[in-house]
C-alpha cells in the first residue's frame, strides 16, 4: 500500500520538477505561467492524494480552495500579460 503511494508520489514529483523547469527556463513570461498552471493542477491532485494518505477528508476542501485561487490567479496574470501592467 505505502509502496504504491510512494511510486505515485515519485511520478507526480517528476512532473512537478519538469513544470518547475519550464518555469525556470521560460523563456518568456507566458511560458513560465503555463509551467505554473501545470504546477497548480498537479498540486490539486496532490492535495487530494494527501487527503487519502493522511486520511483527512478536510484536505479536499483545501485543494478546492487552492484550485480556485490558482485559477483566478492565472486569469489575472493572463490579463496582465496581455495588457501590460
Amino acid at each position: 500500500m505505502s509502496t504504491l503511494n510512494w511510486i505515485y508520489l515519485g511520478i507526480v514529483s517528476a512532473g512537478i520538477i519538469l513544470a518547475v523547469l519550464r518555469m525556470i527556463i521560460g523563456p518568456d513570461i507566458t511560458n513560465r505561467v503555463i509551467g505554473l498552471d501545470v504546477l497548480t493542477t498537479i498540486t490539486i491532485a496532490l492535495f487530494v492524494f494527501f487527503a487519502l494518505i493522511f486520511q483527512r477528508y478536510i484536505y479536499i476542501d483545501v485543494s478546492l480552495v487552492y484550485g480556485l485561487l490558482a485559477f483566478i490567479g492565472v486569469l489575472v496574470i493572463a490579463r496582465f500579460i496581455e495588457r501590460g501592467f
Binding site: L68, I72, L75, A78, R79
Partner: protein, 236 residues
C-alpha cells in the same frame, strides 16, 4: 558586483546564524507549549472541531481582530492612494475587450464561487477553512467579474457598509464578554453545541461569518481600487 557579493555574504551570515539557532529546535520535533493546552482543552472550552479556529478566534481572538483591522487599514490606505484616479471617470470608460471564454466562464463560475466562499467560512470551525479563506474566495469572485466585465464596478457603498457592520459584529460580540460573568473580551458565551455539528462552538461561527463578510468586502474593495487603476484606464 562587489555590492552583490558583499550582501550575499552578509545574508549568508544571517542565514547561517538562523540555521544554527534552529538546530536547537529541529524540524518535526514537538515544541508545543501552550499548544498542548489548546489541543487538550479545545473541545471542552470552545466546542470547535478545528483547533486552529479555536485558537484563531478564541484563545488568540484578539490577534484576529487586529488582523482584520490591519486589512481594513490597508484597504483604506489603498483607496486613499487611488482616490484621485478614482475620480477620473473619463479614463474609466475605456474598456478592454476581454476574452470571450474568460467572460462567459467567469459569469457562470461566479455564483459558485460565492457559494463556495460562504461554505468555507460557515464551516470555519469544522474544516481548515475560515473567515479569511472564505472571504478571500468571495473577493476573488469579484476579481473574476472584473476580468470579465472591466469597467463595471461593484457598489462601494454596500461594501463599506458590509465591512463596517461585520467589524461592528466582531467588536460587539467580543465586548459582550466583558459584561458577562467572565469579564473577558471575546468570551464565548453561547452554548458550545455538539462537536462537528454546524451549530456548535458558540460564537465562533458568528465571528467567522463576520470575518468572512469583512474580509470579502475589504479585498473586494482593494481589488476594485486596483482594477480601476489598471482595467479602467489608469495607465498613462
Amino acid at each position: 558586483m562587489i555590492r552583490k557579493i558583499t550582501y550575499t555574504i552578509f545574508l549568508s551570515i544571517i542565514v547561517a546564524t538562523l540555521i544554527l539557532f534552529f538546530v536547537a529546535f529541529p524540524f518535526g520535533k514537538n515544541k508545543m507549549g501552550v499548544g498542548k493546552y489548546y489541543l487538550n482543552n479545545d473541545i471542552k472550552q470552545t466546542g470547535a472541531a478545528n483547533v486552529v479556529t479555536a485558537v484563531t478566534l478564541d484563545y488568540r481572538g484578539l490577534d484576529t481582530l487586529g488582523e482584520v483591522t490591519v486589512l481594513f487599514a490597508a484597504a483604506a490606505g489603498v483607496s486613499i492612494l487611488f482616490y484621485l484616479i478614482d475620480q477620473d471617470k473619463k479614463k474609466r470608460e475605456r474598456q478592454v475587450y476581454p476574452n470571450f471564454i474568460v467572460r462567459v466562464g467567469s459569469r457562470i463560475i461566479f455564483p459558485f464561487i460565492l457559494l463556495f466562499g460562504s461554505y468555507i467560512f460557515i464551516h470555519g470551525h469544522l474544516t481548515p477553512g475560515g473567515g479569511f479563506q472564505g472571504g478571500s474566495i468571495i473577493a476573488s469572485g469579484f476579481l473574476l467579474l472584473y476580468l470579465a466585465y472591466p469597467g463595471e464596478r461593484v457598489n462601494r457603498k454596500k461594501l463599506a457598509v458590509t465591512e463596517g457592520l461585520a467589524g461592528l459584529t466582531f467588536v460587539v460580540f467580543g465586548a459582550i464578554g466583558i459584561f458577562t460573568g467572565a469579564h473577558s473580551f471575546l468570551f464565548n458565551f453561547f452554548p458550545k453545541g455538539t462537536l462537528n455539528m454546524l451549530f456548535s462552538a458558540g460564537i465562533l461561527p458568528i465571528l467567522y461569518i463576520a470575518i468572512g463578510f469583512k474580509v470579502g468586502s475589504e479585498f473586494a474593495g482593494i481589488i476594485d481600487d486596483m482594477m480601476c487603476q489598471t482595467v479602467c484606464g489608469g495607465e498613462k
